[in-house]
Symmetry: C2
């Protein structure tokens, strides 16, 4: 973004996101001096709302159960002549999120596997493409909350399958259906999808905070929960764990 | 330690420490399979006691106000034929703690300054010697809690000066007098000592946890507090901040 001439930048950007993507778009917009509007659920954690606002973005909230965040974001983009940056199911965001696996393999090249959270599927799609480009034999595992198992069900059914809005503490992984663009990538690249319970996620967050000194949000800690509960095949010895997102309330 | 033949290892080790040094000795002893006894204040945070115990060490507690931890540790060492590993004022611990600055400068060689907490003075002595060996022009700043300013007073007086047991949330920095071995090193290598209040330490801990996602204990966060309150000379642009210790209760 920083190498784009100012005149070629969009007038503004709009994103809908329950957290990390919104903050990423807000930070990017702030860094190049354009306006950002982030559409966030009204029941998003106050910390996420504050952090996004802290990067100069305008926040528009919506009701997760009755409103369509995508439609709201599209309308704002049209009204303000801004560019919509979707959180998943778009080649740009898949590419950008895949840099997480690039960084991981850059530091530790000989991993047997990489474990990635699945919300909409953008992070795991990008990570899987990047990891397999560098290391074709590496195994990619996805993780979903037990109640938010739309990708696990879809893989079993061989087609995108919708579920009701899931209840889980992993609020960033409450997607109801895999993305149209990401699902074929997941089908091709992902070895298996593991499910974890809210209790297992809480245990992992506690371990990460108290022993590893890292504040990781529930949606990001699902991967640590997978490894700690030994839900991956036993033969793997070097497992890369992507901990995505730290928008957690330490008191919880 | 790991390259020492088993027959040359001590029968056991004893350390007195309010936290990190005790855990370090416990981990080292566990890794080579010898017994560790750690003498800790009875009012140390439960998390510190549990973490040290978790590495297989025996814990002996003492009353900070009335008992002499060094005498207790010496007696245990004599009774059990174990080796005492002092937390500061010993060439081995100064050398070991100096590796923090080695790691920092290995990652970022062109620092203008390094900021280090001062408890007994071992960490800053080792870091100062290591940093000046690599980069003679680098400035070393120490940080003490406002109430625990024994080193600041001693530098001004030109000799080791004792203070009453200080009250501060930085429980790892409650030394009452600089070390005999470390004080001349501090005199020679440390540019200045900065003081921070408990409120400034709390603000820094909050920032580190909520924005940088790192759980740092009060004694470790004093350095971040120094930078955040702009207490260092204005011309410095690249400042290395040593965050030492994560034995904090996230609720606090």
């Amino acid at each position: 973004v920083l190498s784009i001439p100012k005149s070629d930048l969009p007038r503004g950007v709009v994103a809908y996101s329950s957290g990390n993507h919104g903050q990423a778009v807000a930070i990017a917009a702030e860094s190049v001096g354009i306006a950002a509007t982030i559409v966030m659920p009204a029941d998003a954690p106050p910390l996420k709302l504050a952090a996004t606002r802290g990067h100069g973005a305008r926040i528009v909230t919506y009701d997760r159960a009755t409103e369509d965040r995508e439609a709201i974001a599209l309308r704002i983009a049209q009204e303000t002549n801004a560019t919509l940056v979707p959180p998943y199911d778009h080649p740009w965001t898949i590419t950008g999120q895949g840099t997480a696996a690039l960084e991981l393999l850059d530091e530790i090249p000989d991993l047997d596997a990489v474990v990635v959270p699945i919300g909409g599927g953008g992070l795991i799609s990008g990570c899987a493409i990047a990891a397999h480009a560098i290391s074709p034999g590496i195994l990619i595992f996805g993780v979903e909350p037990e109640t938010g198992n739309d990708t696990a069900l879809s893989l079993r059914a061989g087609q995108r399958t919708a579920i009701p809005l899931p209840e889980t503490i992993a609020d960033g992984l409450r997607a109801t259906k895999p993305g149209a663009l990401t699902f074929p990538i997941v089908q091709k690249h992902v070895k298996d999808v593991v499910l974890v319970s809210d209790a297992e996620i809480r245990d992992a967050m506690n371990f990460l905070l108290l022993r590893m000194k890292m504040l990781v949000e529930p949606s990001g800690a699902v991967t640590a929960a997978t490894v700690m509960t030994r839900k991956l095949p036993g033969k793997l010895t070097k497992i890369g764990v992507i901990l995505s997102g730290g928008n957690a309330d330490p008191g919880v």
